[in-house]
Amino acid sequence: MASHVTELKLNNIKVKYGSATLLDNLCGNFTRGQLNLIVGRAGSGKSTLLRTIAGFHKEFSGSIMADDKAFDPSGNISLVFQNPEALFFNGSVGEEVGYALKMRGVLPDEIECTSKKWLQQWGLDPECCWHRHPLELSGGEKRRLALAACTVFLPPVVLLDEPLAGLDVKGQHALADMLKAMATDHIVIVVTHEPEALMTDSSSLLYLRSGCGLWFTPETFLYQALSESDFFPLPHWYSSAVTPFREKPALPRLEAGAVHKFIQEWRRADADKL
């Protein structure tokens, strides 16, 4: 199931709840081949934007285009809700993962084989949880199941609402790797409060703030966050380590290893100067 959409374009999106306008005049592109991150304070409309793209929230004006054609979300998206429990409606983990494949007329044997492989990839042991009820799983397991069930059929556009919540650190790393792999041939849009876990050099970042959307590359985002104290709360360790170097032409990635290397290099450079 190859995906054909390479770019999702937002044109003047204006989202409302009744008379209250939540997002205004939002333009920009989500593209394939990179992770598209959306950040913003609680209540800034991140989930609402995902729900709008997914076609659930209909109170909006403007247009969403997929490669210059109007985007029809029906059948082309998967949306992992912020609250994974709301996604479950089958009696067992197996049926839950297989649902999307069954809808697409995949043969039963193949469904089982693919689903098990997929569960395994997302870090759930298919043998022990196949027959369990989805709501019996632990919080992190539910999150993994939701991710597996929503991505198993590889839709062209994958929307994830705070997928890192409730995962342990190892799970977060695994998730980040899988998302990066998936982003090579799908449009992956991720809402997150922890961009550091997902940000790579090639990510694009949409910051929703008081009704507008600002687009950044990771680098411009880090510069701005370091120079403006109330712009975005970066992890404390990063700002205290990198702030002394914020006038330098390049900043390290939001990742401990990169920061360590970066500081060492500057130290060495300073030592050479002396």
Binding site: A54, I77, L79, A86, L87, F89, A100, M103, C150, P155
Partner: protein, 249 residues
Amino acid sequence: MQISYKPGSGLLHRLNPLTKGTVAFAAIIFFSVNNLSGAVIATIIAGFLLICKLSGVALLDVIMSIRRIGLLLVIVALIQGFSVDGFNPMLAVEAVLRIVGVFLVAGVYLTISSQSELTCFWEACFRPLALIGFPAREFALIMVIAVRFFPVILGEIERIRMAQIARGARLNGGGLLSSATALMPLMIPTLTQAVIRAGELAQAMEARGYRVSAQRTRYQRFRFGFIDLIAASVPLLIFYYLLRPFMSE
């Protein structure tokens, strides 16, 4: 778009909870068992909606919720409409109007009654039984929660629809709730979900320190006023209407 309590200060809102409950139940019984013609039922429904509108009840949600039972209405219309001599649209319309009447009355009742008013009514219904050791208050709470679960179950169907689209079900393709046969397999997950929710609700109430058997005082004192007197004539009229065939003998 769920039916839920919307505070207000209109005449209907200010009715005594006992009157509200009695009128609502009388009206539900009336709509279920009358044998009036479609035109009369439609007039009564229109009158009822007018009264609600005039006293400022938020009708929009209630009316929009009818869409959720659309499928049920179609099935009932088909079953009731067909008789020995072919399809009789009049019968179908009457059957549908009766259900819509019941639905509207129940919806409006839930819209204008707060949780404490509902409990108050049910408790009053079961109070006589308390004399013989029946746990009236516990039972009233169960009934209130059950009534509150009705919209939850409808909402549940909506949620499952969304969950299916979120997993790439196509709006016009198979697998979505487009036909009655597609609805049936959903009944079981819906009911299991409802039971699970009920369990969660019980835990949530306990987690906040709720004890059924605790002595409680009422935050609000309900009065029985002049409007109640007028409203109370409605169930009396209805019972008179229903019992008429037996009385004329």
